[in-house]
């Protein structure tokens, strides 16, 4: 079992903290914080511009982060890694720039379990261009998403499948491997939203033998600072796509009449990027890899399974998870208590969970619910946190005289 609380200063600063909201954003280890703080003290300058040492050293670190990120997901071309602000911006970039190549009558498939980040941009694009947005539904009983629920929606007009690798509400893993394979045969592009998948699982797209066209995720959910997101895109697609944001740093030449654009990746990184956050991503990936993504997955899955087992023993508690649990996401409801009241009562005992729609309103509505309470376990949680969760649930029932 992992025992990592000492690596994370937040647990020293808040002695009684039971943090079960890593699905929203993960805490940061000293390994990341100290390096970046040192970097700002000793090295910081803008990248790509200065000929002096500080700028050069910063640029080297920034480029190293790009190489590390490519290696982290198992792709061979670091220039196809674009740093954005977050997953949301990465998807908006694709919806804008790749979306420009789509036309009226084309079709896009998403699943019902998408985060709003991978739903609203496509809905907007569909309305703007007369594209048909098709929804692949999960099985309401098993909470699984069978591949055929997606592939059966494919027609000759399907141009893109935008699919979450893991539901942020249910923890359901989508059949992204199969979908990528089917899509490739049919020449359909695939965007994989890895925001909830990447921090918890080892993945190597090259070894897996699938070639998603776009992969997006955020740094902050995998222990980097907030403010950096990732877009991986296939070179041939990124080359053809128009820039999303324009201005400084993304140009080749600018005249009064015309602008030509810089080669990848700079074409998609206009303006000064979040340099410190990008460097924090480098260190965060190093930190997670030192521990081992497989060990992290095993650890949080063990905690989630224990929590689910214990929650199910309590009368009136309903857990919404697929049978095969493989990460730390545990969504639940308690009969007669609204999730916001649950989270408020939890907060009194310093147990941090999230309550509400979790930016997945179509899914919550589809499941016939108004709201969920969600506890998420990560590498620094332990069995004591499970105890705290169970105790807090029992307290909720007492407070509500249930």
């Amino acid at each position: 079992m992992l025992d990592l609380k000492n690596d994370f200063p937040v647990f020293r600063e808040n002695s009684d903290l039971c943090f079960l909201d890593s699905g929203a954003s993960a805490q940061k280890p000293s390994y990341v914080i100290d390096f970046v703080s040192d970097f700002y003290r000793k090295t910081y300058a803008n990248i790509h511009r200065g000929v002096y040492k500080l700028s050069w050293d910063t640029t080297v670190l920034y480029d190293k982060a790009r190489e590390k990120t490519a290696e982290f997901i198992g792709v061979n071309n670091p220039e196809c890694i674009i740093f954005t602000k977050n997953t949301t911006e990465s998807i908006n970039l694709v919806a804008y720039s790749f979306g420009n190549t789509l036309k009226e009558g084309d079709e896009i498939i998403v699943s019902i379990m998408e985060h709003h980040a991978n739903f609203v941009p496509w809905q907007m694009l569909a309305k703007k261009k007369g594209i048909k947005l098709k929804i692949a539904y999960i099985d309401k009983n098993t909470l699984e998403l069978p591949a055929e629920n997606i592939t059966s929606l494919i027609t000759e007009k399907t141009k893109l499948i935008a699919l979450s690798m893991c539901s942020n509400v249910l923890g359901t893993i989508s059949p992204f491997v199969e979908v990528c394979k089917v899509a490739k045969e049919k020449g359909i592009k695939v965007l994989l939203d890895g925001a909830q998948y990447m921090p918890h699982h080892k993945i190597n797209f090259t070894e897996l033998g699938i070639e998603p066209d776009f992969v997006v995720f955020s740094g902050h959910k995998l222990c980097s600072f907030d403010g950096v997101g990732v877009l991986y895109g296939k070179g041939e697609l990124l080359e053809k796509m128009e820039p999303f944001l324009t201005g400084g740093d993304m140009i080749e030449t600018v005249s009064i009449e015309e602008t030509t654009f810089a080669p990848l990746p700079n074409k998609f990184e206009a303006g000064t990027p979040p340099i410190g956050a990008v460097i924090s991503l480098l260190k965060a990936i190093e930190y997670l890899e030192n521990i081992g993504l497989d060990k992290i997955e095993e650890h949080e899955t063990m905690l989630a399974k224990e929590a689910i087992k214990r929650l199910k023993e309590i009368e009136g508690v309903h857990v919404f998870a697929p049978e095969k649990v493989s990460n730390g996401i545990v969504s639940f409801t308690i009969d007669g208590i609204h999730p916001h009241d649950i989270a408020t009562i939890f907060a009194e005992d310093n147990v941090c969970i999230r309550a509400g729609m979790h930016c997945a309103e179509p899914l919550i509505t589809y499941l016939g619910q108004d709201s969920f309470a969600r506890a998420t376990f990560y590498l620094y949680n332990d069995l004591e946190d499970v105890e705290r969760l169970i105790k807090a649930v029992k307290k909720c029932k007492e407070v509500f005289r249930l």
Binding site: G336, I337, H338, P339, H340, D341, T344, I345, A347, E348, A355, G356, M357, E361, I364, D370, S371, V399, F400, R401
Partner: protein, 140 residues
Amino acid sequence: MNIDPIYQEVILDHYKNPRNCKEIEGISEKGHNASCGDKVEVVAKVEDGKLKDISVCTKGCAICTASGSIMSEKISGMSIEEAEKFIEKVKKYLKGELPENEFDDIFELKALSGVRRLPVRIKCALLPWITLENTLKKGK
């Protein structure tokens, strides 16, 4: 932070048995907290410058539901002018802009005062009042 003063008997009672969610004719308006999903629908029956009857239907947390239910009991029968002043005062009270003892005479509202110490939950308690405010504006 002490929770129990919020989830006290009177609040739980109004949550479990919300008053005045009923079918009436009148001006209606919906309110919604996008972040948490709380939903309120208010129908106000206005006659001769008076709030003759009110329906408040809530789908949400204990604080929002109880607040709406309490509002329906306290505000019915007031003149529009009185109601507007009352809403304004309650809003200020819930936001902590009036002294804690301001509603010592209305124990249900005093019971709601616990949200003053929970900044993220104030909006739950405010939603029915803001929705009624919008309903009355719509009637003008």
